[in-house]
Amino acid sequence: MLDMRVTLPLQRIILLWLLSFPVLLSGQEKLQYSGPLQLGKFKGEAAYDYKLEGNDTILDGPFRMQRSSLQALLENEDASFSFSGNFENNYPDGFWSFLFGEFQSDSESQIVDYQYRVKISGIQNQAKGNIRQGRPDGLWEYLIQRIEDSEVAETLFKSAITFEGGVPQKSFRIENETSTLVGRFLRNGLAHDIWSLYSDSDSRTSENWYFNEGWLSKIEFEENGEVLVSQIYEEPTGSFKVLSLDSGYLQILKLKLQQADSLSFLSRGIPALLAENAANYKKIDNILSGLGRSAFLPEFKVKAEHFPLDSLETARMDAIKGLYQRSVAISEPLLNNTQLNILRRSDEQAQFLHAVVSAISSDFLQPLQQLVKYAELDVLEFVPRDQLISGLWPNGKPGTRIRIDSGEAGEAPKVFTGPNASQLQFGANNLQSAQDMARYASISLDSIAGVLNDKLVKDQRQQDFISLEEQMIAQVNELNKHIDSVSSLLPSDEREALSNIRALAERRLNQYSSLEENSAKIDYARASIACFTDLKSLSESISKGPERLEVIQEKYQDAVWNPFIATIMNEEVKKRITAAYRKVLLPYFLDKAKEDLNCDNAKALGDLMDSTYERLLELRDESTSKLERKLRKEQDPEMILQLFNLPATDKVN
């Protein structure tokens, strides 16, 4: 009995231990990382827990990342930061704290409590709060402070917003150096009641937004001591949609207020403060979404009237976007074309068409660009279409007839009419007429570009001819000058070769001038320029001949002690090599230049002369007894070149 009692638990323990094996194996093991990490512009040391799922790293557990460099701080400036928090299954979750800033130091240190202390100055960002499933939860504070000598000198920005699962709650407060915004939300995140902006200087409200369950009914704002009121959604009817109070919503407000006297408040006051807050939240979101999954946004909710786009309208909008991009791709290069800008001063038609392009650009394309931008911001469906379209052309839509004033008094304006003009009407304020206008702009630009590009090509060709001819003449002059300057000093063979080069260049120039002006002539000119370059370099190689021969003869000398005279004498060595150069190769090259020269082989011949000379200089110091034996009685230049290891002469022939 006693034995049984002892053995049974032991067996059970072993059994349990064995059974737990597969569980342990299938369960994921937590891994730890500690080392360098880069997160956008932040680069520092990180320590975190994670697990692997397939090839994915899933952050799970505490996370910490920081950097600060005393050396950088003392030398110039240090961008230090410290992030800490917790992840759960790749979602930020739990308390998070963010601290980052850029600091300078005056490099003065003191010792306090066995530590060196250095005072710093700079700007510090600080944010802290709870996160649940990647979304802010509870009170979040964001603070930007200016630090001077390690003390807070000024609060530049401060926001305190309470969230519940990412949805803003209760009242909030956002302030910067000059003003403070206070407002509140309903439990579903919708803006409610009055949002007031207080100016810090006089603590009076300077701007009030009146919300009613997400509907912005009116805006009051003060300008030049006068209180202006803009009604927005006084008595909303019809369908609506809840959306975020972001730049898209502000754009909708602008469209609704476009007839109002002043829109300028939309770029300051409450919108500016909201934008500043959103930008700061974005900084945190950038960090978190770089690591795992998160949606760290203020998510202030508002309501707006909704006019959904039907499928036809969506297709029209796509077409407008395509036509707009196509048109800009034509008009921008034309308007910025320097050649056209010069040409239009002397060409009346070019001047007219350029003005038409300019008019199409400002009357058609710029409003359409705005329309495309609205589409991209997704605000089309929150504004009545006719209001939207008519707002794009506040001074009325252009017609198909584009009138261009000549600029001179008494002269009737010229009119441009594009293709299919009679079939088009731009009167209606809907997407169809906008699409028609986009199409009209596009086909008109097509036809204008056709005419202008032809003109430009012709003009370009004319200019090409002029510059090519100038270049050719300069080259031939240069060549002749070179030949004149060296000829008198050269032996007759070299002289004859040079005069043949000169004759070839002159022939080429004559041939050019007899050609008709077309693209083949341009090609001929280009080929001639290349040819003249080759001829110049060949003539240089030829004129260097005697000088090179001297260098070679000098180099192929060996100092030898003559005991009978008791003096040191120079002895010519490797005579077969120098003789092959002097007696076979040089005459061969000169014969080619005299009798068998053309633009195709001039370069190869010049190069071969140069490389042969270089090779001769090398051969002096190489072991050549075998080569010298082979050179005996060899009179064939091609064979000799081959023996010298020089490239084949195919191109020379």
């Binding site: 003559n562 005991p563 005279i565 008791a566 040191i568 004498m569 120079n570 002895e571």
Partner: protein, 275 residues
């Protein structure tokens, strides 16, 4: 003075002849009252001079001369007179000075057409030479001191060797004619004068063995090969009688060669002796 000289000279001669050269006969030579000059002998020398470099400073001096003499019927080249082999190891001290030490084996042919003695006898020498070469503007000048220790014998059967020393000094100039310096294709003219004295027991009254006045014209084919030709007049006392002078006119043809069989890498620094 003259008296004394005569007596001692005659006594010496007689003693020497008695002891060492009995075959020379019993006759005593008597100095003539005036110097007598023999008819000049016409000769042709064909000389090769080899100077073979064996190290940076050493060379092998190898000379072979073929010397012909007139016969009654043929001037200059009638018969072979001597074949002459001179060898030495030379040391180049600097461009301006070198020394040599070596031996000579000369084969002397009996040129006395009437003689019934041996036709050929050898002659042995040990020689050493000190030569200075000094440039003077475009001209080269040379001072050559050569000392030879010479063992000769007559053509007579069983004749003994006699030993003499020769003291030679030569001054030579080489003047380039078609160039301002010596280099291949240079023609030069080279006048030279050499005085050869001798001494030894047998030399009693004729220390002046030879005075040679030569002019040659040379042509440098390559630094290693030169040819030259010229004419030499010489005169000197005969050994038998100091009052009698032999003379000769010699056509000389020279071939100078100086090969260097060393490997190229050893040659390179060798031209600057003062390094």
């Amino acid at each position: 003075m003259r008296q004394h000289y005569k007596i001692s000279f005659g006594a010496l001669i007689s003693m020497l002849l008695c002891f060492s050269m009995p075959s020379w006969g019993q006759e005593e030579e008597v100095l003539p009252s005036e110097s007598e000059f023999k008819e000049p002998v016409e000769r042709l020398w064909i000389n090769t001079y080899g100077n073979i470099r064996i190290s940076k400073r050493l060379f092998w001096d190898a000379q072979t001369h073929f010397r012909f003499e007139e016969t009654e019927n043929t001037p200059f080249v009638g018969q072979i007179g001597q074949i002459y082999n001179r060898h030495a190891i030379g040391y180049i001290y600097s461009k301006a000075f070198n020394v040599s030490l070596g031996g000579v084996l000369r084969i002397n042919f009996n040129t006395d057409e009437s003689s019934t003695d041996r036709k050929v006898v050898p002659e042995w020498r040990i020689w050493h030479q000190y030569q200075f070469a000094l440039p003077l503007a475009s001209v080269m000048t040379y001072h050559r001191f050569r000392i030879e220790h010479r063992w000769t014998q007559g053509f007579a059967e069983n004749s003994e060797y006699i030993f003499r020393n020769r003291w030679r000094y030569m001054f030579r100039v080489k003047v380039p004619l078609n160039n301002h310096k010596f280099e291949p294709k240079t023609i030069y003219v080279s006048p030279e004068a050499e005085l050869i004295w001798q001494s030894g027991k047998e030399v009693v009254a004729s220390p002046l063995e030879d005075l040679r006045l030569t002019t040659t014209v040379g042509y440098i084919l390559t630094p290693r090969l030169t040819v030259a030709a010229g004419m030499m007049y010489s005169q000197g006392q005969t050994l038998e009688n100091g009052g009698i002078y032999k003379q000769s006119w010699t056509v000389r043809c020279h071939l100078y060669f100086s090969p260097d069989f060393r490997k190229v890498k050893n040659k390179l620094p060798a031209i600057h002796f003062d390094d």
